[in-house]
């Protein structure tokens, strides 16, 4: 970075919040996905004005700017692929206000999602989006990736809970979208446009979130199925019986075995699938619903159905699910975590496709995920140093994407496109769909300053590259 530009940035940002040393910059060269890109400078802004000034400079001198939260992105979202400046927003975390009267939270972008959960609960309220990374991820990252977790089935994703934003645009303007009301039809819905835009259309400097009353009760069960397809029927039967569980999680046999091997919990290693169902709401309704779920599972062929009698038993059930991630990383150093999503009715078909892909490419592929909303997590365990195997992994990942789209689904239900899935965008959206997205990007960011290299594939880029 040219001395002259650095000097100008110093006029905006105090020295202790500008990181220039090589080791400091390397510490911002990665996220939880692949690849490593060294930024030329890391800036830790504290105000929207500082950010606005930086964006104006960036447009003047044409250097790229990469917003970053806690860098837990699994798709390369915050990676500074073209160098330039990393904007570390994780330290912009002062504001976390719970407005009990209006059922709102007003937050700075660097606030940790888990802290919003806790604060809301203290006030008897509930912020539902629950990505499993919520103890680490920033709300800014959640907004820009439109993150969600198990509760997405009943409560929807992050976008359902954002009603207003303060945004610095790529050209340095400060704007407000939406407001403090749930109903708002004034003009285009820019809030929804920014949410899920992966930091390519603006930098969120404050958000107004909608909270809901905390459900009074919940009940949880775990059901074991000798046949994978039967678990699929149980899931669809429950949903068509008019029950909308708060969560419905599925683990396949490879997963069950991995967990049991890693941390014995007494899981049935011969079963082809285990599902975990949680219902919440009014205590009376919850009792009845869990009973119905229990019956439907048994009728669909479950060999055992266990309903948690207390919080301790509930924790035990969820422990099995939480152990999946650590357990499978024991199987190899590299984990490729996909989140292709299909319509619910296609879950059995998708599961079948995944088994075929696993055999075809001879890979260590396990499947778990949020079965209720069709958001499966096929994970491939491999070693990125094994070049030959990584080639097969790339082919397999491509085929997973193709299967999901063919079955009427999408490339990504949760983790975003980033750099990893960019080559497959056109497959899902078509040429015209892509063109309109590009036009939006060009209108907001004429100089392609903000998070360039993401979402849109480079010319000629047609497949995922992990090596």
């Amino acid at each position: 970075m040219k001395e002259a530009i650095l000097k100008e940035i110093q006029q905006i940002i105090p020295k202790n919040r500008m990181l220039t040393d090589l080791q400091e910059r390397y510490a911002y060269s990665f996220d939880a996905s692949f690849g490593e890109y060294l930024p030329e400078l890391v800036v830790q802004p504290q105000t929207k004005e500082e950010i606005s000034e930086i964006m104006k400079l960036a447009n003047k001198y044409h250097f790229p700017v990469y917003p970053r939260g806690s860098a837990t992105s699994l798709s390369g979202g915050p990676l500074p692929v073209e160098g330039g400046v990393v904007l570390d927003l994780s330290q912009m975390k002062k504001k976390l206000i719970i407005d009990k009267e209006n059922l709102l939270a007003i937050v700075s972008p660097g606030v940790i999602t888990g802290d919003i959960h806790r604060k809301a609960e203290e006030a008897g309220l509930f912020y539902p989006p629950d990505p499993s990374s919520s103890q680490v991820s920033t709300i800014g990252g959640n907004l820009l990736e439109n993150s969600s977790g198990p509760k997405g089935l009943k409560y929807g994703t992050t976008k359902e809970y954002v009603i207003g934003l303060e945004v610095v645009t790529p050209t340095g303007e400060i704007i407000r979208t939406g407001g403090k009301t749930v109903k708002n039809v004034t003009g285009y819905d820019l809030t929804r446009l920014i949410v899920g835009s992966e930091g390519t259309l603006g930098i969120v400097t404050e958000a107004i979130l909608r909270l809901i009353p905390k459900p009074k009760a919940r009940k949880t069960l775990m059901a074991t199925f000798p046949k994978l397809t039967d678990s699929g029927y149980a899931i669809t039967n429950i949903l068509s019986a008019g029950i909308l569980p708060a969560a419905m999680e599925l683990m396949d046999q490879a997963c069950i075995r991995a967990v049991e091997h890693f941390h014995p919990l007494g899981l049935p290693i011969d079963a082809e699938a285990v599902i975990i169902i949680e219902v919440d709401g009014h205590p009376l309704a919850v009792d009845e619903e869990i009973k119905m779920c229990q019956e439907i599972c048994s009728r669909a062929g479950a060999t055992s159905v266990r309903v948690a009698r207390d919080e301790k038993e509930r924790d035990e059930i969820w422990k099995a699910r939480k152990m999946v991630s650590p357990a499978i990383t024991k199987m190899g150093p590299t984990k490729i975590s996909e989140d292709a999503t299909v319509p619910r009715s296609q879950i059995p078909a998708m599961m079948e496709r995944l088994q075929e892909i696993k055999e075809k490419y001879q890979l260590n592929l396990v499947v778990f995920g949020h079965a209720g909303d069709g958001n499966l997590h096929p994970n491939i365990i491999t070693d990125k140093r094994n070049k030959e195997e990584m080639k097969r992994v790339e082919d397999a990942v491509g085929e997973i994407f193709e299967s999901a789209v063919e079955l009427g689904g999408t490339l990504s239900g949760e983790h975003g496109i980033g750099i990893l899935k960019a080559p497959y965008m056109e497959m899902e959206l078509g040429k015209a769909g892509m063109m309109f997205m590009k036009k939006i990007k060009e209108a907001w960011d004429p100089n392609n300053i903000l998070n360039p290299g993401k979402i849109f594939p480079k010319p000629g880029q047609t497949r995922v590259v992990l090596r």
């Binding site: 080791q23 390397y26 510490a27 911002y28 060269s29 996220d31 024991k330």
Partner: protein, 441 residues
């Protein structure tokens, strides 16, 4: 712009670092689950001060992308070694091993470049194990004059920077027990009443010098609950300070000597009262895993070594005599909690004291930033973390703050001094409190 080319210059690759930890650092999935657990990430607010950042920098150094001393050293020096990150990590990364290997690589690199360790590090490593030298300001000057460095280091500014933390530390040091009262190596103290077990007590080098009263009381409590206590001769420092400074070889030698000394006693359990030493010793099996001659013996030793709180809960209840007055709170020793996994027992013991009001300290599981000699080497950073903790301590309204490790104890006393509470608050070892409530003094 793009990435500048200046950075592609040749950097010294530490192949030993690659060999020691490359596989382990590659297991890090960079999920960041460790970030909220890390006290230095919280206080320094940047990724290079986080576990994930440090692990990545070790990886970069192993790959030769950054320099071991020029770039990796500072972030590694700033790590407390509290290992809270290990507890938070979903893939059970062995951060302790990564940290020690990084320190070893730094030391090797220094040697190669003929640089030696910094003046500050030398000064403290010479002094700290000999705590009596620290006792009076006069002694400080004495130590300084003795060290051959005084001629080179006459610049008063530099001296002041180093002496300030020590002068503050001095206030935190406890009173000395009369020599006749001290626990003597080689002695055997019979159990009071029925003998339930024979235990061998590890006195620890720092505790022995600074906290020998606590050591004596430890032995008395053990005897009270029915343990015959042997004080093995020829035991020595656990090696933690050496291992943490990257002197693994010295640490291994010390470990072997301790193993031999304790085996000799034939005791049922080995016991210690210092969280940090205990953590070091329960990991002797890891330290000596590549040594076929010692591997089994080390495993045996590690499995027998217990913290005092474990044995007191196992063989208790303690025969309490007095009613306690005032609020008690507890600050975990990181190595007791994060490495030995012990956090229930000290709390159970404190709550069992008749009359005691136990109030949980918010953030008690977070490091007090004593970190071996971190508080001396990284004084400012350490005090930032400590002062914040003292704010939480004040909220408990405690008159007694209890810890289970000499380093933490001194740090808490320093904290009490710094926040001007020494007239209403005392910092003591768990054993001191229990002994007092049992009427032994």
């Amino acid at each position: 712009m793009g990435t500048s080319h200046r950075e592609t210059r040749q950097l010294s690759t530490s192949n030993s670092l690659y060999e020691m930890v490359y596989d382990e650092v590659n297991r890090c999935i960079q999920c960041g689950y460790c970030l909220p657990a890390c006290p230095t990430y919280e206080s320094m607010e940047k990724e290079s001060a986080s576990p994930r950042g440090r692990i990545n920098l070790v990886k970069m150094a192993a790959e030769g992308k950054i320099d071991v001393t020029e770039h990796m050293k500072e972030p590694i020096d700033q790590c407390l070694g509290c290992r809270a990150c290990e507890v938070a990590c979903p893939v059970n990364l062995d951060y302790g091993h990564i940290l020690e290997s990084a320190r070893e690589a730094i030391r090797e690199e220094h040697k190669k470049r003929n640089r030696g360790i910094s003046f500050k590090e030398f000064f403290f490593s010479q002094l700290f194990p000999h705590s009596r030298r620290l006792r009076a300001a006069g002694n400080l000057v004495w130590a300084y004059q003795k060290s051959s460095l005084n001629k080179i280091m006459r610049k008063t500014k530099r001296i002041n920077r180093i002496l300030e933390p020590m002068v503050q530390m001095e206030k935190a040091l406890p009173l000395v027990d009369a020599p006749v009262k001290r626990v003597k190596p080689g002695s055997v103290i019979p159990a009071k009443g029925e003998t339930k077990a024979r235990v061998a007590f590890f006195t620890g080098c720092i505790s022995d010098a600074v906290l020998h009263r606590t050591n004596r009381l430890t032995v008395e409590l053990l005897s009270l609950v029915g343990c015959e206590v042997i004080i093995p001769e020829r035991q020595n420092c656990c090696g933690a300070l050496h291992a943490h400074q990257g002197l693994k070889k010295n640490a291994r030698d010390l470990a072997k000597k301790n193993i031999a000394a304790f085996e000799h006693t034939g005791a049922d359990y080995y016991v210690n009262n210092a969280g940090g030493c205990g953590a070091m010793m329960i990991e002797y099996d890891k330290l000596l895993k590549d040594d076929p001659e010692w591997n089994d013996r080390a495993q045996h030793f590690s499995s027998k070594m217990k913290d005092i709180s474990i044995l007191l809960t196992k063989f208790g209840p303690l025969p309490f005599q007095k009613k306690w007055e005032g609020v008690i709170t507890y600050q975990d020793s990181c190595h007791l909690r994060n490495v030995q996994g012990i956090h229930e027992e000290p709390r159970i013991l404190l709550k069992s004291i008749p009359g005691a009001t136990y109030v949980e300290l918010s953030g008690s599981d977070r490091c007090c930033a004593s970190g071996g000699i971190y508080n001396l080497l990284q004084f400012d950073e350490s005090m930032k973390i400590l002062d914040q903790k003292m704010g939480n301590v004040k909220e408990t309204k405690a008159a007694t703050i209890v810890t289970t490790n000499p380093g933490c104890l001194l740090q808490m006393r320093l904290g009490i001094e710094r926040c001007g509470q020494s007239h209403v608050m005392q910092g003591v070892h768990l054993v001191d409190v229990l002994a007092e409530a049992c009427g032994v003094g």
